[in-house]
Assembly symmetry: C2
Homo-oligomer: 339 residues x 2
């Protein structure tokens, strides 16, 4: 065991696009194991768009991180010392939120789930078998009310939720289409079953490109980004279109400032469209339902995911900024130890 | 019977706020009664916000009126000559859309409903017993999923749909709040059971006024207007808020041009709010359900409606413009004949 616990602590709440200077790496003592707890060492740390809102000064659905605190985040970790009955040294666990950007965390059993590496590989527990899996599942099948034949457009389609949502939509008899930043990402999307896609960084008329690809409109839009992609979709709604607002990553550089742009009330009315905010925590009691199915699909090789892994705890803020800028291809993780 | 049929014909499709010059009054011959039809003479003509979109150059959910055609609109009318079996001279009928702004219309039975004046007074068949009744009913109880205790905010609350929605919300155990243009309208709203209200023409900070009135936020917003009132509500969403987009009358002067303003994706996400476009025609097969209940409520005196009646066919465009500007108090009608 190392002598120190390296931790990324938040320096300040952030208004515009965050930068690596908004956190600082400190060395703290490795915590002492108290009765009822265990100490775990991170293998993979999660970095994900939801974290942007946790460091913003504005209202959110969950408590934010205060300056001076360790940055929030999930991890797959190995127990290195335990005083919690039933939890043994060497076992793998995953925390969805409560590990933090650090080498070691002192955890209580109720804060973690057991990782069964025979069921699915360790990294998937921060992805398909973690928040991304249940986000894609409930966004499509509950809030999105997906039906066979739906033309499903997915933004940030090569990202963690997007790549999974596209594959699940296809498995459920719908036809997924991708919007992603680059042609390389669109190529990956096609490889895993998307019917088509648009690389929006090269696209001058996104609304027109969507119209050309989907002349009868979008039935279901899984909105991971907000911003200009949302605007383009609102001009291409099929009757009874559903828009599930899963994330707003394109607003990362302006959280707390007004987002000014075109509104589409007539389009919403004419299409009788439904726009609905989605928060995966609302489905927490039912996550197990989805994971049971997702584990089967993973084992059967019917869903694949791609990872973009940064090496070393010291690269964690940088990896997070890659996600906010859309520079990652696949689910972004940080490898902290060999495990 | 008069020798001529006065008709308001559309001069042009309209982009900004319409003016009376966008129609012209012509005299046409009274139509000859063909077999299977009857001739009816208007008593009341309807003027309503939905007509704005029918004369716009932009896409809508229904066919528009072409220049040279008689302007679309419903009417309560009396049969003056009939060659349709089972439909007698002297009987009252109502058409929801297909009468037109004119003295006489030649109608087929399938285009009308019978008016039973012992069930509800003639004018109510263009209101509670007409499109407004079913709009308020299905917007609240279907799309809006109203529940007892909901704080329901209603824009254009003293208008035809608004006044009814407020009373129905109260009868269903919810607490209705009004937004209307003037203090006189708010006073009327309070009289019929709204808990409180805001006169937005005198209000510099509408979002703040809503926050002061409803510190825990809006559970259900019946959006008859779009525009700045919508924006103010989006800053005051209760968790799981529902916004039913019923109409966009505040956009009457800019249909076909982009509506630029603040967007509220984070607020939608954080509140897990649902914004849904509403079109009463989607519920057409079920209108009878609502009218049966509404007739009972009317007869029991449990709902009241106020009418704003312009006198004479020649005032029809002017009466319509009053509605678009929000100058009417209560459901706007035009009295064309004594009946």
């Amino acid at each position: 065991m190392a002598e120190v616990n390296r931790q990324w602590r938040l320096v300040r709440r952030v208004e515009g696009m965050p930068s690596v200077e908004d956190w600082r790496l400190v060395e703290a003592p490795v915590p002492t194991v108290e009765p009822g707890t265990f100490l775990a060492r991170a293998i993979y740390l999660d970095v994900a768009p939801y974290m942007r809102a946790r460091i913003a000064a504005v209202r959110n659905y969950a408590r934010g991180v205060e300056p001076g605190e360790v940055m929030i985040g999930g991890a797959v970790a190995r127990i290195v010392a335990s005083r919690a009955p039933g939890w043994k040294e060497g076992e793998l666990v995953v925390t969805d939120f409560g590990f933090g950007w650090q080498d070691y965390a002192l955890l209580r059993p109720e804060a973690v789930r057991r990782v069964d590496p025979t069921l699915a590989p360790p990294e998937t527990w921060l992805d398909v078998m973690g928040l991304n899996g249940v986000t894609a599942w409930f966004a499509l099948f509950e809030t999105g009310a997906l039906r066979p034949g739906d033309r499903v457009l997915i933004s940030a389609a090569a990202g963690s939720v997007g790549q999974l949502a596209g594959q699940l939509a296809r498995l459920a008899g719908a036809v997924p289409y991708a919007v992603a930043s680059t042609a390389a990402k669109i190529a990956w999307c096609r490889e895993i079953g998307f019917e088509g896609g648009i690389a929006h960084r090269d696209c001058e008329d996104l609304a027109g490109a969507i119209r050309a690809m989907l002349p009868n409109g979008v039935d279901l839009y899984v909105d991971n980004t907000a911003g200009p992609i949302h605007d383009a979709v609102l001009q291409n709604l099929a009757p009874r279109a559903r828009i599930v607002v899963v994330g707003t990553v394109s607003l990362a550089d302006r959280l707390g400032r007004p987002d000014i742009g075109p509104r589409f009330f007539r389009e919403i009315l004419v299409a009788r469209a439904r726009i609905e905010g989605f928060l995966v925590l609302d489905f927490e009691k039912r996550w197990g339902e989805a994971w049971a199915r997702l584990a089967e699909l993973l084992r059967a090789g019917r869903i694949v995911t791609r990872y973009d892994v940064a090496d070393g705890l010291e690269r964690t803020p940088e990896a997070f900024l890659r996600v906010l800028r859309g520079d990652n291809l696949g689910k972004q993780l940080v490898r902290v130890s060999a495990g």
